[in-house]
Each structure stands twice: as C-alpha cells, then as structure tokens.
C-alpha cells in the first residue's frame, strides 16, 4: 500500500518536472525573439540587446531554465513584462479569485451530478432517467460560453438578480466578488456535470446488475443499504477519474467563462497576457495548470485506493 502511494507520488513529481520543461521549451519556441516582440518592430538593435541582457536571454537555455525553476520553487516567477510587477503576486491574486469560482463549481457540480447520475442509474429506463439523461446530453453538447450567455440573459437581463459583469479589479475582496461568482460557476457546473452524470449513471447500472448486488438484495437488505454499502463504492471508482479530469478541465474552462463575465481570475489574466505577450506570466500559469492536473489525478488515485481494497491489501490468503 505504501509502495503504491510512493510510486504514484514519484510519478506525479516526474510528470510535473517534465511538464515544466515542456512549458519552458514551448515558450522559447514561440516564433521571433522575445525582446523584439516586447519592444516592437522599430526597436533599435541596442535597445533589443539591452532588454535581452536584462531578461537574461543572452545566457544558454538550460541555465535560464534552471534559474526559472529555482525561482518557481520559491514562488518567484520573475517580473511581468507589461506591469513590471512580480509575476508571483499577480498570479496568486488572480488564482485566489478563480479558486472562489472553482470551489463553488466543484462543490455543486460534483455533488449534484453524482446524485443525479446515481438516480438515473437506479431508475434506469424510467422517466427520471430519461429526463436526467436528456438534460445532461444537452449540457454536454452546448459550449460553456453559450451557457454563460443564456444565464446572463436569464438572471441579469430578464430577471436582474445577479450581476452580468464584474466591475472590480483583481484586488477586490471576497465580499465584493461573491455575488459575481454564481453565474460563472453555474455555467461551468452545467457543462462539467453532464460528463459526471453520464459516467455515474453507466457505472451504477453496471454495478446494480452485478451478482453481489443481487446477493445483497436477496439477503433482505433495504434498497438504501444495498445502494450505499454495496453498490456505490464500486460504482464510484470509474466516476472518480472522470471527476478528476473535469476538475482539472476547470482551469481551461474558467478562461472562457471569466472573459464572458469580465471576472478578474486566472483565465482573464491568461488571455490578457497572451494578447500582451507577457511571457513570464504565461509560463507561470501554464505551470500552475500542470500542477492542478497532476494534483487532481493524484487525488483520484488515492481516492480509488480508499474505495478498492484490492489496491490496499496484498491479497495474502489464509490457508
């Protein structure tokens, strides 16, 4: 069990290291010289050279990588080319704002979709199943910005209960941002939930048809007990990884939705930085997304270990 855990953690760290190299290389491989891009086409060669020196671009790539990763480990991602402020602080601020959306989304999407998926699976081929399946299919096929727009139309324009756009900057407090969180979170949750609902439904159906669930029923147990004790642990296993992937997907999904709502989060920062070619910021955000992905998958692995005793025990037999 411990070896399993250690192996997973080591693999996760390896993945992170690899992705940091990839992120670094990808940014380096962007067409054109960074200094030229920042200063524009008309810059004098002297100015370009000066900037290159300031950015450390005259040093070999691997040295720059080592420098960058060393800084990143201490939370120092360099300085923004646009605002000349430290990247770390700026990213952290936006990340905090996005986390607010993410937490709300995950909380509602995961619990809601699991409940719906399990219900659909239990009421297989009856009306609750048909209703849930159809709605989740629609949620799956509509892109998040359309969902967001429809939600704005409904709750900001027709019935103005929630703000359509955020008027505060990144430094706004939680109290100021909280009313603005609901619509972005809802649109993300709708798209995300669709996948989880469908996965939960199929695995619940599979498990409910298994022999051990039949045995549990024939033991005279109540349906509630059969479902919670016998069916769910096994049914949740495949769903867990779908949840992990979807939570990780939030990092990307947030970029689109935040721009629709002008929400000062990490997605908005990413888009602005790409437009401004603010390379250190892009690099930092890319690395953070990688961390989120890896952490989500590690969490799913540990979760499946909790649900599946085969992964925990060594399978020694009693003779």
């Amino acid at each position: 069990m411990l070896t399993f855990l250690v192996r997973r953690v080591v693999a996760a760290l390896g993945t992170l290291l690899l992705s940091s190299v990839l992120v670094f290389l990808a940014v380096q491989a962007l067409p054109g010289d960074v200094a030229t891009q920042v200063l524009g086409r008309d810059a004098t060669p002297d100015a370009v050279a000066a900037l290159r020196k300031q950015m450390g671009l005259d040093q070999p790539a691997w040295e720059r990588y080592a420098e960058w990763i060393k800084g990143a480990l201490h939370g120092d991602f360099g300085t923004s080319l646009v605002t000349t402020k430290p990247v770390g602080g700026e990213v952290a601020q936006h990340l905090g704002n996005s986390a607010l959306i993410a937490v709300v989304t995950v909380l509602f999407a995961v619990t809601g979709s699991l409940v719906l998926g399990i219900l659909a699976g239990l009421y297989r081929d009856r009306w609750p199943d048909h209703l849930i399946s159809t709605v989740s299919l629609i949620g799956m096929s509509v892109p998040e910005f359309v969902v967001a727009t429809v939600l704005v139309l409904a709750f900001s324009v027709t019935v103005p209960v929630l703000p359509a756009v955020v008027l505060y900057g990144p430094g706004a407090g939680v109290g100021q941002l909280l009313p603005a969180v609901w619509l972005p979170a809802a649109s993300l949750a709708i798209v995300m939930a669709a996948y989880i609902v469908r996965m939960a439904r199929t695995s619940v159906i599979d498990v409910m048809a298994s022999e051990y669930v039949t045995t549990a029923r024939l033991k005279g147990l109540s349906t509630w007990r059969v479902v919670t004790r016998h069916a769910l642990p096994s049914a949740l296993l495949p769903t867990l990884h779908v949840i992990a992937l979807n939570v990780a997907w939030l990092v990307g999904g947030v970029a689109v939705v935040e721009n629709v709502f002008n929400y000062p989060g990490i997605g908005k920062l990413l888009l602005t930085s790409v437009q401004n070619r603010d390379l250190p910021v892009i690099q930092a955000i890319a690395l953070i997304s990688a961390v989120v992905y890896v952490v989500c998958n590690l969490a799913a692995d540990i979760g499946s270990m909790a649900l599946n005793p085969r992964l925990r025990t060594r399978g020694g037999r009693i003779r």
């Binding site: 039949t214 004790r229 096994s234």
Partner: protein, 654 residues
C-alpha cells in the same frame, strides 16, 4: 415416507416469461413442486432449462424483464409474490436464504467479510458463524476482503451469510460449480451437516448429477422450462422413467467407465474402448524436471517430468492450485519455466515449412502432405523434401523413441541446431514469441473458456482463418476460407457457422470452434485446459467424443487437463496426478484407477461424486487420513511396473 410434514415450499403451476424484442418468451412452464422441512429437493437440468429461475422465485426474485404469467409460489404458507416490499425483505433474510452460484462474484468486493455476514441479520455472532462453516481463524478472517480468500473459502463465507439469520429454507444455486473435487466435497459435506443441524429444507440447483445423487432426497428434472420427471432420488437414478432423464444419466461419465461412453437417443450406453496407442509410438512432448515459479516467492510447479506420445492422451489431474494449468501455459509458451527442459519432438514435416537443405532420404516420416492427416512415426517410410525431417526421423524411428528424447533432436544427427530446427522440433522452454513459427504451430492450446477466448466481434470463421493465414498453412484467401469451412466441419459443425459470431453459438459449439482454431495450425500436440468444465453433461460428452475422434484420426498427442476424474477415466490413456506442483503418482489410467497407490490419489477418487446415491460415501473410507512425503535420497519413486509409479509416502502417525 407417508407422514411427511406439510411442505414449507410449494410451487403450483408456475409460469415465467421475459420480454425480448416485444415478444414474450416463456422460460418456465407450469412447474409444480413441494419441499418439506428437513428435506432436500434438487432441480436438475441443463443450462437454459429454467431451474435457476424457479429457484430464485422462492425468494421473490425475477430477472430484469421477467414476469410471472401464471401460478403461485408459497413459502411458509405465504404467497411470495403477493408480499409487500417490507414483508418480502423479511422473507429474504429470515425465512429463505440463497447461496449464489459463484461466491467470487456474489461477495461485495469493497466490504470486509465480517460486515457482510453481520448485515445478513440474526443474533449469531459472526465468528461463531465462520466457525460453523469450518473456516480457520474466524477472528482474522472476518477482517479480510473477499479477494483475499480462496474459492472454497468464499463459498463457505457465502454459506455463513445465508445461515446467519437461521432461515427455514436454503436455496443453493450450483453451490459447487467451479470448485475442484476435493473443495466441492468439503462444501457439500458442510451443507449436509448444517442441514441436519439446523433442520433446513433445501432446494439445490445443479447440473451435476453426482452432486444431486449425493445430496438430494427428491429430484425434479427440468428441460426447456418444464418438469420432465420428478421422483425420489434413489428411484430416479435406478429407474429413470422419462427418456430425457435416461439420456441425461447416461451422458454422465463414470469413474468406472473404461472408455468414452457413447449415448444413444434412447439413453442406452455403450462404452467405446480406448484407442490402443502402439507400444512404439514416438514421443511428441517431453518434459523433464520442469520448475515454474510465480515471482520469487511461490513455486507453482516443482520438478515435474512426463512425456506424451503421438496418438496418446495424457491427463494431468489435481485440485486447483496443483500447477496443472501452469504446466499447460508453459508448454504453450505463455510462461517460461525457471528450470528443467521441455521439448517438442516433431513426428512429421507438413506443408513444406521452411525446410533446410534438399535431399530426401530414406526413413523419413510419412505424411508430409498438408491435408491434415498426420503421419505417425510408425507409418511407412516415404521420401521427404527436407533434410531436417530426416534428422528427426533418425531419432524417432521405432526403437529409438522410448526414453531417447535427448538423442532425438540434438544427438541424433549433426546439423540440427537445438531449439531452432524447422518443422516443429525444438525447445519449448522459451516464450511463444521467441519460438520459430513451425514450433509454435506444433503445440496448440485450447482454452478453458471458449466464450472469452474468442473475439466477440469477429465471426468464428475469422477466428479459424487467422491461424491458417498466420502459419502459412493456407496460401490464398480463398484457400483459407475453404480450409476454415473444412475445419469447422471437422469439429462436427455445420460449415455455414463460419459467418456467425461467437455470441450466436452455444457453449459447446464455441468450444468446438476453439478446437478447430487450434487444429488450424495442424498441431502435433494439443493442450486441452479444462475444456469441458462448465459444459452440460450431454455437451461435454460430445466434446470428449470429438477430441477422441481427432486424436485417432490425426494421431495427436494430447495433454488433457482436468480435475474431473470421471472424464479423465474415459478419455485418457495415462494419468499424472499433481499435488502442489509435484507429481505424486503416474501410470496407465486403468491401473491407477483400479489401484491408486498414493493417498492423495485416493483422496481425489473418494471426493469424486458418482451419479449413484450412496456410492461416494463408501469410497470415502478408503482415503488415508494423515500422510507425509517420504521421498528420501534412497529414491523418490516406488515402481509398481507397467509404467505405474507412486511417490514414496508414509503414514503421518508413524
């Protein structure tokens, strides 16, 4: 018999149907039966006879999509299908309990054993229940998960779960199918004892007539959803009335049969004498001191030696975990032995496989054609195109065969590189992917589970065609297709089956396709790994007959792996008994069965259940209770003559 108490279970004119594609398909038709307290009723029949469906209705359970179309099921005086949900739950826990077919699947994988038993209700402590089903160290066991138990232990846990709430009726759905004879005997003895102890009425569902004869008081024979015969056990087995029952009974192989039983339409039995293997038949496979390890810790096979001659069926028998399947897998090249030598000694070069130098020589082996009729080493000499073939025949010619396995390939002639000579002669100690093509062709495996070893999305014709093309036995596409049809006909199936998918065939038909696929490579050695396990007796008889025909026609060397002694008795010429990866006894089948020398062999035979009430019980007394290995430096074997030898042992008591 006259004053039986009122029945606790009574089923009246029960009919069940399920919906399929908008049609009602009847599965059970006007079945009536009754069981009194303390009695055991067996529902017997082949798969699809509706016996399990009837048994499940005693617990008010129907499969998804099925419904009652008539009749009534009453348990303990109450109509099961008229109960409210709450009352039904009380019935299931308290009045009727079920032991499901496959305990491995019937236990929830994510729950500890103890909790699963505890939630079945009742006042009896879990440890006491585990003790009652004779499980060791109950306290420790209760904390285990199902996958940490062996198959027999899982079945015992399932029984403990069923008797937890002290029910009045126990429904046993194929409780020992898939367990080996010794484990089966243990579980059945336990069920029998608990039945007495708790005064249970039992309904036993089984396709195994040996189990039924051993356990039941009354028997209902079902066929296609109807009861064809119902009678007290002894009368049913001694004087079956219905032709179907007679046929069913005749199909069951007996430990006393000296050959395969051929069953007529009217249920008459005729024993076909075993095909005589010529005394000078060439060795086809030789296994010497082979050891196979799983990982570093456990040794599955320990120093096993045997050989199979052409046209001979050698049976490997033993309980699960004895290493018999491991040996099969190693011979097929799916597992590499960690010690010892395994060789295939080819008897004939076929289809002009990549031969060495030209130059036919006298004394080459007969049957160099590609028509599948194999040439035995005993056949008349004929010219062969390959020099390599003559290399082999030099070692294999009559007289030089017995025991000369090492000389056969490497020492016989110069120029035959060991392990790589074309034509199928070579070292089997390497994995399949590193074997030369011809050698791979020589040794073919038929899997235990035909339904999982065939690709469900490919037609069975495809499955047979692939090895034909792969081994180059058929040149063109058209030839492969026609050869595939021929092979399907060879296994006694309609060649038009080639276009069907595996799901459209029955279990026995799929197993035949598995055999046809193995034959496509024109092998000289066929490994049959429990190929009749899980088949209905009549289907099993057909598959065995086919295998027997094929080895006669093609002089196949066949390694037959089974835990079913009655089957082995009918088909095998010689028997090797394995225990914990070690050979304890070997010899000609008739001799070993008539006079088993090793206590373990006796134990196996005692555990085998015959379809004759009361027979097994007498034989159990023959088994020696305690014994230990006495093999010392003075010699491992006691030779009894005629190739019959027994590993040295002594009574444990001194």
């Amino acid at each position: 018999m006259t004053s039986l108490p009122a029945p606790i279970v009574s089923v009246d004119e029960l009919s069940v149907a399920y919906r399929s594609g908008g049609r009602e398909v009847p599965v059970v038709h006007e079945v009536s039966l009754a069981v009194s307290p303390g009695r055991t009723l067996a529902l017997v029949g082949e798969s699809g006879s509706g016996k399990s469906t009837v048994a499940a209705t005693l617990l008010g359970h129907l499969r998804h999509g099925s419904r009652i179309t008539g009749g009534r099921v009453a348990v303990d005086g109450r109509d099961v299908f008229a109960l409210s949900a709450r009352e039904l739950r009380r019935l299931r826990g308290g009045t009727v309990a079920m032991v499901a077919q496959n305990a491995g699947h019937a236990l929830t994988p994510s729950m500890r054993i103890g909790r699963q038993i505890a939630e079945a209700g009742g006042e009896v402590p879990v440890t006491e229940l585990l003790e009652q089903v004779r499980l060791p160290r109950p306290r420790e066991l209760a904390r285990r998960y199902p996958h940490e138990l062996s198959g027999g232990q899982q079945q015992r846990v399932a029984i403990a779960m069923a008797i937890a709430a002290r029910p009045k009726v126990l429904v046993l759905d194929e409780p020992t199918t898939g367990l080996d004879v010794i484990t089966q005997r243990g579980v059945l003895d336990l069920i029998g004892a608990l039945r007495e102890e708790l005064g249970l009425a039992a309904v036993l569902v089984s396709h195994d007539l040996g189990v039924v004869a051993h356990m039941a008081d009354e028997v209902c024979v079902m066929h296609a959803g109807r009861v064809v015969e119902a009678a007290p056990t002894r009368r049913l087995f001694t004087a079956p009335a219905a032709p179907y029952t007679r046929r069913l009974l005749s199909s069951v192989p007996r430990v006393t049969d000296a050959g395969l039983a051929l069953v007529g339409e009217d249920g008459t039995r005729e024993i076909r004498p075993r095909a005589e293997v010529p005394a000078d038949a060439a060795e086809a496979v030789s296994v010497r001191h082979v050891t196979i390890d799983y990982g570093t810790a456990s040794r599955a096979v320990d120093g096993v030696s045997f050989s199979v001659r052409r046209g001979e069926v050698l049976a490997l028998v033993g309980e699960s975990g004895s290493g018999k399947s491991t040996i099969a897998w190693a011979l097929a090249g799916l597992r590499v032995p960690s010690g010892g030598r395994m060789r295939a000694v080819a008897g004939g070069l076929r289809g002009g496989a990549a031969g060495g130098s030209a130059g036919g020589s006298a004394g080459a082996v007969a049957g160099g054609s590609s028509d599948g009729s194999s040439g035995g080493a005993s056949g008349g000499p004929s010219a062969d195109l390959s020099g390599a073939a003559s290399d082999r025949s030099a070692g294999l010619s009559p007289g030089g065969s017995a025991g000369a396995w090492s000389g056969a390939s490497s020492g016989g002639r110069s120029g035959a590189p060991s392990g790589a000579s074309p034509g199928g002669d070579g070292d089997l100690g390497v994995p399949a992917r590193r074997r030369p093509l011809a050698l791979r062709r020589t040794v073919q495996l038929v899997f235990q589970n035909a339904d999982t070893s065939l690709n469900p999305r490919r037609s069975v014709g495809d499955a047979v065609r692939r090895p034909l093309r792969f081994f180059g036995t058929a040149g063109s596409r058209g030839e492969a297709a026609s050869r595939a049809r021929q092979l399907i006909a060879d296994v006694r199936l309609d060649p038009d089956f080639a276009d069907r998918l595996p799901a459209q065939l029955s279990g026995g038909q799929r197993q035949r396709i598995g055999i046809a696929r193995a034959l496509a490579g024109e092998p000289e050695v066929l490994i049959a790994d429990e190929i009749t396990t899980g088949l209905d007796v009549s289907v099993q008889a057909e598959v065995l007959r086919l295998l027997d025909d094929l080895r006669r026609e093609r002089e196949l060397a066949c390694l037959f792996i089974s835990h079913d002694l009655a089957v082995v008795r009918g088909i095998a010429d010689r028997v090797v008994v394995l225990r914990h990866g070690v050979v304890v006894e070997e010899g000609p089948t008739d001799v070993v069965f008539a006079d088993p020398g090793h206590p373990y062999t006796r134990e196996l035979m005692a555990a085998a259940l015959e379809p004759e009430p009361g027979v097994g019980a007498e034989r159990a007394a023959v088994a020696v209770e305690g014994w230990e290995d006495a093999a010392g430096p003075g010699g491992v074997w006691v030779e009894l003559g005629g190739g019959h030898r027994v590993r040295r042992w002594r009574s444990a008591d001194g």
